[in-house]
Symmetry: C2
Subunit: 338 residues, 2 copies
DNA sequence: TTTATTTACGAAAACGTTTAAGTACGAAAC
DNA sequence: GTTTCGTACTTAAACGTTTTCGTAAATAAA
């Protein structure tokens, strides 16, 4: 095991001080071009890599960001991570991943463990049960934070979201126009502003189409994914909707299975539109109508926003763009048959 | 902005030395129960979080692992990450994510940037074009590395893989038994041992069924995902297979579209089985027959293996379990119609 | 010529931990 | 009664950078 090469090694071999080496490596203007050249050459030759711990400790910068999300194994979030990682790469930053599994206590534990200088900034899509605003109030005062998709309502918080209200409104109207009169809403994000916006879009569209039911047709999400099928099947059997707008992708598979189980023809007896980033939406039977969020673009934008903040550029929380989702009408919400 | 709380703060308030504080926080046997109690109480009260950089620098341990994969936005890898993250959580470790996008130079750059003490260990699923064995030879001597799924052939390297040969063999036989005589293989991992094993399973099964063609029916993957549809459609049109075994999930959507485009009835004229972790496989039209790898379990296992190594437990590279994939026969490889 | 200013570098002090080595004290061993 | 030992601490030196401040020489301004 040969000795690890440090700035000291380089300094000794070149007969200069470690300060000069350090400055040369970070391309300081204090150092002559010639010296920089010599240092870089030797560094390359000896495969020198600066020790990140020492560097972080001294400089209070980590070149690392954290991404906190409910689940990695989800089409939306994995696409978002892809976008985030791409931007981080451009800035030569490292990316830490944390999954909350919709557990808001884990979320708090993660953020707490991050404020002590492990990362320079945080990108977060909160748990569906996140309610502790005070925690985030204090968090965003300690470290740069950008929320994406699932944000919470804090003034001055940076968040990148999509046009939840408009797309839910449009999808609901689309169902109404295609003949649905009992349109249900599968809510997965009850407590969140994101979920509330989608719900409001749905409600307003119902209102406008004069389809408001005496009893609301809204199903709240369950925590246990294994119970989802039963919950959805029970809901459909019970409420007999002829149209469904699902606010999260997780409901899609249960909906399809429930229809098979209950012998319901989709889209004949029941039409479905879902927020979803399924690559196979068009290949399903029937092809799924989706509200497709620009997940990749959201990841990129959220990360870009964070880096602007980290680079001390002016960012106005109120002027962040609202990304547009796309309603893609396919068989599941169209006329029967193919 | 109030002063950050460090061991020094705690030491001063308790009138003990910082060494005692540090040892108390790490539950050293040198410290009395009473002192530990006092330290921990104060730490909690002041929201003390140990500075990771200082800790890493001094202790040469980071409590961080890196995961290097081709893509996050892929059902197999996102499930694997989920498993990895779960195990890392149990050990209170942090997880860094790096995407290579199948670029082996990026892979080398990542690993090089990691050996200088940024992480304690690496989990990697290599690029499909990874060929530089020497690089990995030297890497595994510098830092604990565990390969998963896409491994490379280095003696003494730890790798967690599935029964690629057997499952490819079985799937091919399944196609043959269901009447296919011109069975093609869509190769996505040409250079890798993983891909070679799958190819061999396919070939041996063809051989056994006496279905070897004079001209091999093998399509190599392309680098550009946008060209995949054209490549697949061209291949099918050209070679006229009546059965396809696809070695990666990326070929699935192109296959379905190609069939539509070429007006080929699946499974009537062409049957398909693919390595895949699609959640919607059963809902496609026709439902997709898959070889489903235990991605989540692989992630867990690979991570567990890495932690055994990090904890200096004996691990014999040759005795690592071979995980079993599951062949799930559905409509796409079955009899026509539903 | 004298006095600023600029350029290129060095000395040394951080950054916040961990840990090796040392110490004081009481209890047990002889 | 001395010696040994274990317990519960302290001291001080790392770990490998970055950064502040200082300085000598060279150049420009006066």
């Amino acid at each position: 095991m040969k000795r690890h090469v440090t700035v000291k090694t380089l300094a000794e071999q070149l007969n200069i001080s470690i300060a000069t080496v350090s400055k040369a490596l970070s391309d300081s203007h204090e150092i002559s071009a010639e010296t920089k050249q010599r240092v870089n050459d030797l560094a390359r030759m000896l495969n020198y890599e600066r020790n990140p711990a020492a560097s972080n400790l001294r400089s209070h910068r980590t070149r690392t960001i954290a991404v906190i999300i409910p689940e990695v194994a989800n089409n939306f979030f994995s696409l978002a991570i892809k976008g985030i990682e791409e931007i981080a790469r451009q800035h030569n930053f490292h990316v830490l991943i944390y999954q909350t599994h919709e557990n808001s206590e884990a979320e708090i534990a993660f953020t707490n463990s991050l404020v002590s200088g492990r990362v320079d900034g945080i990108l977060i899509s909160v748990t569906r049960s996140t309610g502790n605003l005070a925690h985030f109030q204090s968090l965003i005062r300690q470290i740069p934070v950008v929320f994406f998709d699932r944000s919470i309502e804090i003034p001055d918080a940076f968040s990148i979201t999509t046009d939840d209200y408009e797309s839910a409104f449009e999808a609901t109207r689309h169902l109404a126009e295609n003949g649905c009169s009992r349109i249900a809403f599968l809510q997965g994000l009850d407590q969140l502003a994101t979920g509330q916006r989608r719900l409001k879009g749905y409600r307003d569209a119902l209102d406008q189409a004069n389809l408001v039911q005496p009893q609301p047709l809204v199903l709240s999400g369950t925590d246990d994914p294994r119970q989802l099928l039963q919950a959805v099947a029970g809901f459909i059997k019970d409420k007999q909707p002829d149209g469904i707008l699902s606010s999260i992708e997780e409901f899609v598979v249960p909906c399809y299975y429930a229809c098979r189980e209950l012998n319901i023809d989709m889209p004949g007896q029941l039409k479905l539109v879902s927020f979803s980033n399924l690559q196979t939406a068009a290949l399903l039977k029937p092809a799924l109508s989706t509200i497709t969020q620009p997940a990749f673009e959201m990841g990129r934008l959220a990360a870009a926003c964070l880096f602007r903040i980290l680079n001390n550029k002016e960012v106005d929380p109120c002027e962040l763009p609202l990304l547009r989702s796309e309603l893609i009408e396919r068989e599941s919400s169209g006329i029967s048959g193919i």
